[in-house]
Amino acid sequence: MYVVIVGCGGVGYHLTKALLAAGHEVTVVERNPAKCELLFEEMGSVVSNGDGTAVADLRKAGTARAQVFIGAAGRDETTLVACQIAKHVFQVGHTLAVVKDTKNEPLFSVLGVDVVVNATRLVVTALEEGVPGQPLVHLRNAGGPNQTIVSVPVPEDAAIAGRRVGEIELPPHSFVSLVIKREQALLPAHDVVVESHDELVAVTTVEEEQALYEVVTGV
């Protein structure tokens, strides 16, 4: 596969090396000439010195024949413009953006960037999964600008333990989409009984997730 990456910072650099190691053809566009020289010494001609938001520089990097385009610049603004040029000027089939500000994610999705990866969110999710006492885990965005899919384990002494899914009063825009029990995962039919140590996967909104968490974990 031919991949063009914009930005050879922390993310772009390791991405370039990993993709090369996996046998892909890669060009990474980097604005800083001094950095390009260092990278050239290490990786050879995969580095192209240029502005990732300049049509001519992206053309020089061969964006027109790229199957995948990855925006991984230092600023989200740059990543956005680079991805939009790739998509609309060069008709690249798959555009991927590594976004820094969580709040920019919806915009990238609305504008048709195919995959939006949020480094900050990944770290937060890793923290939530790794640190006990913060068991609400963000699984992914649900498509809408505000919707998110979360997973919450039902604690030992939760008030909802022993009740049916249909009886649990959730915030208005939240609903359970899966009940994961020890042996199997169940669709949340009204008569499925929730027990301690089950895990509820729910669709919720940014505004409601705290309220949802309190309903599920309240004693």
Binding site: T53, A54, V55, A56, R75, D76, E77, T78, L80, V81, Q84, I85, H88, V89, D101, K103, N104, P106, L107, V110, L111, P145
Partner: protein
């Protein structure tokens, strides 16, 4: 009626004054404190200083959701493109104007439904382009 101007400069100062006279409540967003002080001399013009690069917070604070007009006029094409598209697609502002000095970007974003303006130099550039392409003006 509310209007938000992102990015300063003389262009923004003039626009802010004209809009104020035309009955708009104007908010100017910029990173330069001295500039903002100069622009807010008429009391009707509010200012917000951008410090951290959290554009969404700044735009939410400026109450973009209830504004009628957003003009992204900073000297940074990329920031303007992000702010303008945020206004248009996330906050659904009815009128959005985006300054883009790079003619390639103007072409791209005009095609994507954004109202774009460039510096007069850029108009000159496009005229030279037309001339080179063999088109005549009149």
């Amino acid at each position: 009626m509310e209007a938000i101007i992102y990015g300063g400069g003389r262009l923004a100062t003039t626009l802010a004054q004209e809009l104020t006279e035309g009955g708009y409540t104007v908010t100017v967003i910029d990173s330069d404190a001295d500039y903002l002080e100069s622009v807010s001399a008429p009391p009707a013009i509010q200012t917000i200083r951008v410090i951290a690069p959290t554009m969404q917070d700044v735009l939410a604070e400026a109450q973009l959701a209830t504004t009628e007009l957003l003009a992204a006029l900073s000297n940074d094409d990329q920031s303007n493109a992000l702010v303008a598209q945020m206004g248009l697609h996330v906050f659904k502002v009815p009128a959005v104007i985006c300054r883009l000095d790079n003619p390639d970007l103007r072409e791209l974003y005009s095609g994507l439904g954004l109202k774009t303006v460039g510096l007069s130099e850029m108009d000159l550039f496009s005229r030279i382009r037309q001339h080179v392409a063999g088109e005549t003006d009149d």
